[in-house]
Structures are given as structure tokens and as C-alpha cells.
Amino acid sequence: MNFWTDPIKVIYDWLMITLTGWGMSGWLADVLINLLGIIVLITAAMVLDILLVWVERKVVARFQDRLGPNRVGPFGLFQPFPDIIKLIIKEDITPAGADKVVFNLAPILSLASVIFLWAVIPLAANVYGVDLNVALLYLVAAGAIGTLSIIMAGWASNNKYALLGAYRMVAVMISYEIPMIVALLIPTLLAGTMSMKGITLAQQDGLWFVVLSPLGMLLFLVAAIAELGRAPFDLSEGESEIVSGFHIEYSGMKFGLFYAGELLHAFTFGAFVGILFFGGWNWPLPWGDKYPLIGIFNVLAKGMFFYWVIMWVKYTVPRLRIDHMLAFNWKFLTPLAFALLIVTAVVHAIFKDLPLWAYGLAMFLSNILLGWAVLEILRSNARQERAAEETPAPAAQH
């Protein structure tokens, strides 16, 4: 065992020997080292967050045919630091009539709900916070805390726009939770475990789950974007109607926490897509399973890529109306998710004993078939609706 194959254990042992050498009792040293690990992980995530601000602004600029920040540092790389200084020295306003404690607690909970997620991300085969056997449910539970923070922010601001934004956001989050949970059941079913590490290992030995269930990947991505409250599902912000929604009253670093939370949340869900459907630490660089530093690079690279996909969607698709959005969820995503779950379970049960290529082909084809059937149904529905709208049209003209 050396540092390159198991860094966490090596650091743990070294710290343990050092601390107990100072006369500290074993369990206290254990608690201290674990606390230190938590602080290091959170700090790393927040430092990454600073970089994400730059990535976001630069990519948006490219999508909108601009240059983006390019004055501070090479390629504007140090732009986030002036941003942070500005946020910190801005006047910190708590509106009159706001519920002070709840108002101040909301941004903290909002960021915390994202940081919670980092506990279960397997960055490499032996670098992870905790290998929970209910990790996927834990993901949903952390999302529930995020929902709570938004409704707290909306209510405590004592502002009608904020409350409207919070209502919309909570309606969206509660309803899109359903297709998301069902989409999460698909990797669970394929790997036979809810642990993120177990899911990655199952893909290391077999096929990536995106091959076995491309539709499941798309469902998870769409539900995740809605859960993040990013465009096209960002009507909780709706600048043109409810002037940025639930965080309208927040200024300075309190707004900064919401903003940082949103960016890190998007990146974290990108990493989840990479872990659950694209083999986690195994690709693009080889030996990710043996050398944790390579594995960490792979996971972060995939996270970055899907973060970019989420941004791509955000800056390409216009905002939906709330009734369209809920109809899309209840009449399309939820039934599709349940149909896909049933198809996946049945095909998996029938073909799982066949050789890997036959099993993979059967799963892939069943997904394509289901996707095609759904598209056909949608097309015929749309044709009927169009026909129904076009028939009375000539009478109205004359």
C-alpha cells in the first residue's frame, strides 16, 4: 500500500500515529481526523465553485456570441475574486418585516443541501466521504432540504414576488422529484445496489448504464435540470414577471450563497450523471480504478462535461410556462419513467443470464423501441390536436 494507490488510508494512518503520539486518545483522534476530512472536502468543493463562476460566465458569453470576462488575469480567470469582494463589501440588507432568523437561515440551508451531496460522491475507488447503501435516496433527501430552504427564503422575505417564486419552485421540485426517483431506480435495478460505489463497480465489470438505459439517462438529466431550477425550468426566477423570485430580497453574500449553491448543485448533478450512467472513475483516462488521483480527475472531468451540457440546455431553450411545465412532467415524464422502469425490469430479468453483448443489445433495443413508441404516440396526439384546432378556423375567418 502506498500513497498513489490508497491516499486516504495513508494520510489517515499518518495523522493517527502523529495525534496518538501526542497523547490523544484513539477515538478523539479518529473524530478529529474525520472532521478534518470533512473540512478539506467542503473547502475543495467551494474552491471548485469559485472556478465554476468563471466557467459559467465564459460559456454563457460564448453561447451569446460575446467574449465574457477577459480583463482580470489570463482569460479573465481571476474575475471571480473581484466578484466575491464586491459581494462581501455590499450592504447586507434585511428587509423590514422580514422574519430575521428564517431569512438568514435559508441561504445557509440552500448551500448546505448541495454540500450534503458531496458526502456520497465516490471520487475514486477508495476516495469518498461515506459509502452509504442508501446513497440514491440520500440524494433525494438532500434535495428535500433544498426545497425547504427555498420556501423559507420565499416566506421570510415578506415579499409577494418572493413568495410566488417560492411557490412555483416548490411545485416544480415536488413534481419533478417523481420521475427523478424512478429514473434513479434504474441504475439501482441494474446494479442491484443503491450505493454509488457499487453502481460504479457494476459498470466497471459490465457495460455503462447509458448503453443499457439511454432513456433512463435522459430522464434523469431532464429531471435533474428541473430540480436545479435552471432554464428552461427557471420560472421561479422569471426576471420578466416576478423579478428573480425567491431571492429578490437577498443582497451581498447571502445572495452569493444562493448563487454558489446553484452552480455547485449543477456541477454536482453533472457528476452524478457521470457516476450513475457513464462509469464514474473509469474513463477517459485509464487506470482510474487503481490510481485514485486519475479516478478523481475522471469524475471531475465528467462532472464538468455534464455541467456544460446543463449550461448548453440553459442558454439554448427558452423558459416554459408553468402549466406547460407541470403538464410535461405529469403527462409525459412520469408515465414514461414508470413504463421505462417496467420495461427495464422485465428485460433485465429475462436476459441477465445471456452473454454481456446479447444482454446489452436487448436492453439498448428495448429502450430505443420504447422511445420510438413514445415519439409515435406524441406525434399522433399532436396531429389530432392540430386537426382539432384547424377545423373551426375557416368559419372564424369569414
Binding site: D99, N133, L137, V140, A141, A144, T147, I151, I174
Partner: protein, 168 residues
């Protein structure tokens, strides 16, 4: 005293204090938020008991669904609904007597358990989640209650669709 005991005392204190505030808070939204703190403390206790699944489900169901519904319902009511009126009514001595009796009964039963640190901890199976899943679908165990519960949920769902349906 080790780390898990410290966490136990902290979460027990959180549960008791926030449960007290649930009933004494004058603002209904604050009461709901204190209730969430209580439920979160219970989730921490489940984690200490090595019941990870139960803990996570506690957060998803109680905080993610039920408490949010509470807050929604409370927000749609009038804001100053309870701030002026008294929090108790004429029946409070009866309620006090009943709760004192229940406390005495619980204390009496708990005395018989003989809590002590000498007892060995019950072994926690490593595959408890798998066992739970199989118990829910195995005919010898809980498949009937499980299916009955799902029928109940489907009935509720159909009822909701019927109520919301646009009758033509």
C-alpha cells in the same frame, strides 16, 4: 463517553427543545419549522441506531413531503391567525392530567426493562436493505400489507384525478 454518545445527547436535546417550541411558538410557520427540526433530530437518532434507510426515508417523507405540505397549508391561511388568541382552552387541566398519567405509565413500563451498558449490542446485518426489500415482497412476510397500502395510494390518486378532472 464517545462520539456517538455526544451526538445522541445533542440530537436528543434538539428533539426535546424543538418539540417544546412546536407547541409554544405563536407563529404557525415557526411551529412548522420547529417540527422539521424535531423530525430531523429523529432522523439523526435512526442513524445512530444503524437504521440508515429509515433515517433517509424519514427526511424524504417527513421533511420533503409532509412538512412542506404543512408549510404550504399554513401559508395559505391568514398570517395573524393565532398571534392574538390564547393558545390553550378550558380543557387544559384535563389534558395535563392525561399526559401526566401517560408519562407515569411509560416510566413504569420503562423501569422494568433494566437498561444497562452490560448488555451486548444486537448484531446489525450488513445486507439489511436487501432483507427489507425481500421482506416487502415475500408472501411469508409483508406482501399483503404492502399491496394493500399500494391499493390505498392508487385509490387516493384516482380520487385526486376525479376531483380535479374537467367535466365536459
Amino acid at each position: 463517553m464517545d462520539a456517538s454518545q455526544i451526538i445522541f445527547f445533542l440530537s436528543a436535546a434538539l428533539i426535546l427543545v424543538s418539540a417544546l417550541f412546536v407547541v409554544t411558538a405563536r407563529n404557525l410557520v415557526h411551529a412548522a419549522l420547529w417540527l422539521i427540526a424535531t423530525l430531523f433530530g429523529v432522523a439523526v437518532l435512526y442513524v445512530l441506531l444503524e437504521a440508515g434507510f429509515l433515517a433517509v426515508v424519514q427526511v424524504v417523507v417527513y421533511i420533503g413531503a409532509i412538512a412542506i405540505l404543512f408549510i404550504f397549508a399554513v401559508m395559505l391561511t391568514r398570517r395573524d391567525l393565532l398571534s392574538q388568541s390564547s393558545q390553550t382552552n378550558a380543557n387544559w387541566p384535563v389534558a395535563l392530567g392525561v399526559s401526566a398519567l401517560s408519562l407515569a405509565a411509560i416510566a413504569f413500563i420503562a423501569r422494568g426493562f433494566g437498561f444497562s451498558l452490560d448488555r451486548p449490542l444486537a448484531p446489525v446485518p450488513t445486507d439489511s436493505l436487501e432483507r427489507l426489500g425481500q421482506a416487502l415482497v415475500s408472501p411469508q412476510q409483508f406482501v399483503l400489507p404492502f399491496e394493500v397500502a399500494s391499493v390505498l395510494l392508487v385509490a387516493a390518486l384516482v380520487g385526486a384525478v376525479y376531483v380535479a378532472m374537467n367535466k365536459k
